[in-house]
């Protein structure tokens, strides 16, 4: 009788999937685990998130593009979707690079892994706090960016970028800080 694959709903992972990542020693993704490559993935993730969030401002920035025609809207949307999938890909690779430790439940980790995961969440919490504070200050005191306008900029790309940032921040911190993982 095969053991049932437990699903951790709150973490969005399964037992088998997490175990596979944690014990993944000889797979084709082993090269991702060097600190240099992990840091490169972090940079890619940050760039991706920044690009996605810019999607909310690009149409209203002082550019010649005003998304006035259907063709311009299609080009903008296709580019945005492409960037979102690219960022999603970078995030998936990042999760593999850190063995999925950031999303793993306590019972599948040893005490050191729990400690580094918790530390990464602490730093991620601080980082996200500063980012949200920065955005709030920008909204209240910054230049007129025409944030959250019903036409052209409804804040949806910023919301997607924020979700990416919240999901990836602990893995990014783990990937950046740890020597071996």
């Amino acid at each position: 009788m095969t053991k049932k694959n437990k699903i951790y709903w709150s973490l969005g992972v399964t037992e088998k999937g997490t175990r596979a990542l944690l014990t993944d020693e000889n797979s084709k993704f082993k090269w991702l685990r060097s600190q240099r490559n992990r840091r490169l993935l972090v940079v890619l993730n940050v760039l991706g998130i920044a690009l996605v969030s810019l999607g909310s401002y690009y149409p209203t920035l002082k550019t010649n593009i005003n998304l006035g025609t259907d063709t311009e809207i299609v080009i903008f949307s296709v580019t945005a979707i492409f960037v979102i999938f690219l960022t999603l890909g970078a995030y998936s690779y990042l999760r593999v690079a850190v063995r999925g430790i950031a999303d793993a439940p306590d019972e599948l980790l040893d005490e050191r892994q729990i400690q580094i995961r918790n530390t990464s969440y602490r730093y991620a919490y601080l980082a996200m706090g500063y980012i949200v504070l920065g955005l709030l200050l920008l909204m209240f005191f910054g230049p007129e960016l025409e944030m959250f306008q019903p036409e052209g900029n409804d804040g949806s790309y910023l919301a997607i970028a924020t979700m990416f940032a919240f999901a990836a921040a602990p893995s990014m911190i783990l990937a950046w800080r740890e020597r071996d993982i």
């Binding site: 944690l22 040893d110 005490e111 050191r112 892994q113 020597r179 071996d180 993982i181």
Partner: protein, 87 residues
């Protein structure tokens, strides 16, 4: 007893290192890092971190490692650097 628990919990502070003989004892027993990790129930990277002194174990893990290596905790872990003769 209370003192030793306090000392172990203090040693989890990165400012106070815990020295250990895990690598020496493990190799003398002919165990690989992976084998010791499986016996103790941790990831093999954790054994590496312990051997390099980059991670101080909890009291439970220290006891489990000593038991697996068939040694007293004080023979495996110490707050002072072991002398050459002890290695």
């Amino acid at each position: 007893m209370l003192c030793s628990i306090y000392a172990t919990s203090m040693s989890r502070n990165s400012e106070e290192p815990v020295f250990n003989q895990i690598e020496e004892i493990r190799t003398s027993l002919g165990l690989s890092r992976q084998e010791l990790a499986d016996l103790v129930g941790v990831h093999y990277q954790t054994i590496g971190y312990l051997e390099r002194g980059e991670y101080s174990p909890s009291l439970v893990l220290a006891l489990r490692i000593a038991q697996t290596l068939n040694k007293e905790v004080s023979e495996v872990f110490s707050l002072t650097e072991p002398k050459e003769g002890d290695k």
